[in-house]
Amino acid sequence: MAVHEKVKELDSVVIRFSGDSGDGMQLVGNIFSNLSATLGNEISTFPDYPAEMRAPQGTLGGVSGFQVQIGAKNVYTPGDKADVLIAMNPAALKANAKSLKPHSVVIIDEDSFTDKDLKKADFKTENPFEELGLTQIQVVPTPITNLVKLSLEGLGVEGKAALRSKNMFALGLVCWLFNRSIESVTPFLEAKFAKKPAVLQANLKVLNDGFNYGANTHASISTYHVEVAEEQEKGIFTDVNGNNATAYGLVAAAEKAGLELFLGSYPITPATDILHELSKRKELGVKTVQCEDEIAAICTAIGASFAGDLAVTTTSGPGLALKGEAIGLAVMAELPLVIIDVQRGGPSTGLPTKTEQADLMQALYGRNGESPAVVVAAKTPTDCFDMAFYASKIALEHMTPVILLTDGFIANGSSAWKIPNLDDYPAINPPYVSADMAEGWKPYKRNEETMVRYWAKPGIPGFEHRVGGLEKDYDTSVISTDPANHQKMTNARQAKIDNIANFIPALEVEGNPEADVLVVGWGGTYGHLHTAVEKMNESGKKVALAHFQYINPLPANTAEVLKKYKKIVVCEINMGQLAGHLRMKVPGIQLEQFNKVQGQPFMVSELVDCFTKLIEE
């Protein structure tokens, strides 16, 4: 193996693989990320799928990207801008031009930078770099297409089949660039192509040639050495994205509660992958029904809950809008139900493949009547597992619908995840009826302390009962239109939800607790907020972060925390929905806002700028 002369030592680095949707960039991005994680790096990844599924080859609409940040520790986001870009064609270069750091390394397949290719990507001149204003970057033009053809000639792989391995050449080059040995990649390819030995052989050959090409011609660029953490957490790890973590969190809750898991769902981007994953998990006993629409999806789940399953429905914003009436039914019938909204850009069809946090108000208030439900949010891809678990636990133990908000960013983003041991998670104990309660039992009879009613599943003799959307009498559980009773039942339903504040963790403050500015966020922005706050403190500016995962009810200490700080800024990927909610729930506080609605996550740099200004004001 070549000995590198110029090796850059880095704490973290951002790499972006980009090409046509058929170029296999997601695959090599994934392999490289997992490989780095096994070597002791922290990783955070984000795939960026093409806007159009069948865009013509080589055009901007068809660009598919995969970004990963790898580092020694504290990697919480895939990074704002790239240090290294692999651009398989001019469209990929163009699509990523704005996301490059000034001195970044850009590897291009020069065979696909012909005049024809430049035209397809709407370049006006022959020099795409100048045209894009990329004058300081280090370009590594590599004839990938031709080298791959040559590489595979001996193996008898030709034409289109050969070109499918271009991604492996790029991976080989990147491995050389980052000092990863071919031996460390091999197991990943062996696993991937276990059933296709010929494809495996071809890919390994091209990978090797890509690596050697880098080693032999490296003169012009430096290679990187990314620090690995000195103390790594021990255990068995895998790589998980937020949607799969959500799916597994639900399975975990069902396992822990000893219930069968039922999912009613209707496909919608970016939530569909949860349905995909759970549809596959039949060995774990998961029942999935792909329904005719979102209303049916939640209604089958409500039926399954009535019948005694852990019932879930998954969707995105437009689907949540359709489910509103049925959520009200679950509130009224006081049945456990988990509703997962993977938020995307709205309103209406909006930006289906882009991220946003603009469904919070809908989740909190988007129903007729006084209809309190629990609202929680996951903060990172792996936190989706925990929040899906705890959303289920709250739903089952408090007999209520719980809405879990994730978003396109954490749903598709992934990171390394220590495979959980369910013994480390708390038990789930739904309030089942017991045989000794049969005498005089009524379906809306409550535990007077928690205000939770008891769950009698069909099939148990002596507990036959009727529930429904009509108001019931507090004592007798029969239909009632009595004014005072409606007030009493409304209060009871509200008290039941408010009481959940006693069962959720307190709001924690991280960063510098003596800070001048408290940053407040919720859900999927955690990585960026955390990183920005850390950067501020590293540079001697005192900033703290309070990040909400529980939004209704709010943690019991919310007012106490917020009232400690003179300056508070609420940062959200919406126009200020949590800020509005907090102003209502914690009267008298002054909140600044930092809002962005571009279908994109925050950038750490823009947050740092914002916090710096606030401190200086």
């Binding site: 790890f237 049916a296 039926g303 009535f306 019948a307 049925a326 495979i419 036959e464 429904g468």
Partner: protein
């Protein structure tokens, strides 16, 4: 353990029945309670699910498990109940508005999936609960509060819609014909898969008498035909009329006239998979043809809730993991020691 024999009375709840005096729903409720007793169902293993409407109040009057849900969504909720616990006997109670207007989509898909539900559709050709607006089964030209000059829409024929949705069981009855309603319910419950029983129901307030042409005791034998599987399609007060095929159309003939004998009359085969004749029978309506009542179609097909179970069992037979952790460990992992 001793198996208690339940009577129709055991399926009655303590709740006061709130329908208008004379409403056809009373008879349907009573037929249902009798059918459940006859079927040897137990209240604890029976779930009655409804949407919203006068008819949908029915679960409150039953001593079984019951769920009065939201308008139109009964089919979807009942589907969830049945998939979650296929051991329950699940009955969906619905009205023509609940089932065919707001709930039309869920209804056709529950039928298409062939979920093992017994769907009792109480068809009074009007929105009763909201006080008299026309429904998807109201005849063209009928005057209601929202069609003061007569409707300008053609109605659905529930049987046609059911079969159009690839339905495998359809039966029709009239509220006043308690024994046919009872028989249809029994057959519906025995049929595995989605069973639709349409009961023509009189709303004394808004559509009083809409079904009189067929339900009137005097003329009923001549204007309706009770179809029975394996029997000749014979009807009439004198049992001398029968149905034959004339080209592609059904025709009424008189036995003993023009050389017609019993032999010439069609025999009803409810189990025939080809639904062409079932369609024709279901669509008979005036023009000299009798209204078909009884079980028109009763065909076996794969049952959704059983298939859900079977598929899980099949996958489990080939994959050893039952715990989440074992599954995760069987995937792509790495260990940090």
């Amino acid at each position: 353990m001793e198996n208690k024999q339940y009577t129709a009375g055991d399926f009655k709840s303590a709740a006061k029945v709130t329908w208008c005096p004379g409403c056809g729903d009373f008879a349907i409720l009573s037929s249902l309670q009798k059918a459940m007793a006859e079927l040897k169902l137990t209240p604890e293993n029976t779930a009655v699910i409804s949407g919203i409407g006068c008819s949908s109040r029915l679960p409150y009057f039953m001593a079984t498990y019951g769920f009065h849900t939201i308008h139109g969504r009964g089919s979807a909720i009942a589907t969830g109940v049945k998939v979650a616990n296929p051991d329950l006997s699940v009955w969906q109670i619905t009205g023509d508005g609940d089932c065919l207007a707001i709930g039309g989509n869920h209804f056709i898909h529950a039928v298409r999936r062939n979920v093992d539900l017994n769907i009792i559709l109480m068809n009074n050709k009007i929105y009763g609960l909201t006080k008299g607006q026309y429904s998807p089964t109201t005849e063209r030209g009928y005057v209601t509060k929202t069609s003061p000059y007569g409707t300008i829409e053609d109605p659905f024929v529930p049987a046609e819609l059911t079969m159009g949705a690839r339905g495998n069981f359809f039966a029709r009855s009239i509220d006043v014909d308690l024994s046919t309603t009872f028989d249809c319910m029994i057959e519906a419950a025995k049929h595995k898969g989605a069973s639709v029983v349409e009961v023509l129901q009189n709303c004394v307030i808004f559509t009083d008498g809409v079904h009189d042409y067929y339900s009137d005791k005097e003329t009923r034998p001549d204007r309706t035909i009770l179809l029975k599987h394996g029997e000749k399609m014979i009807f009439g007060a004198n049992r001398d009329k029968g149905l034959v095929l004339d080209g592609l159309k059904l025709k009424v003939v008189t036995i003993g006239e023009n050389g017609i004998t019993q032999e010439d009359i069609l025999t009803h085969d409810a189990t025939e998979a080809d639904n062409a004749l079932h369609y024709k029978l279901a669509l008979m309506h005036n023009e000299g043809l009798p209204l078909a009542i009884g079980v028109i179609r009763n065909v076996e097909a794969p049952v959704y809730d059983q298939e859900v179970k079977a598929q899980i069992a099949e996958v489990q037979a080939n994959k050893p993991q039952r715990k989440l952790r074992d599954f995760l460990l069987s995937g792509e992992t790495w260990e940090v020691k």
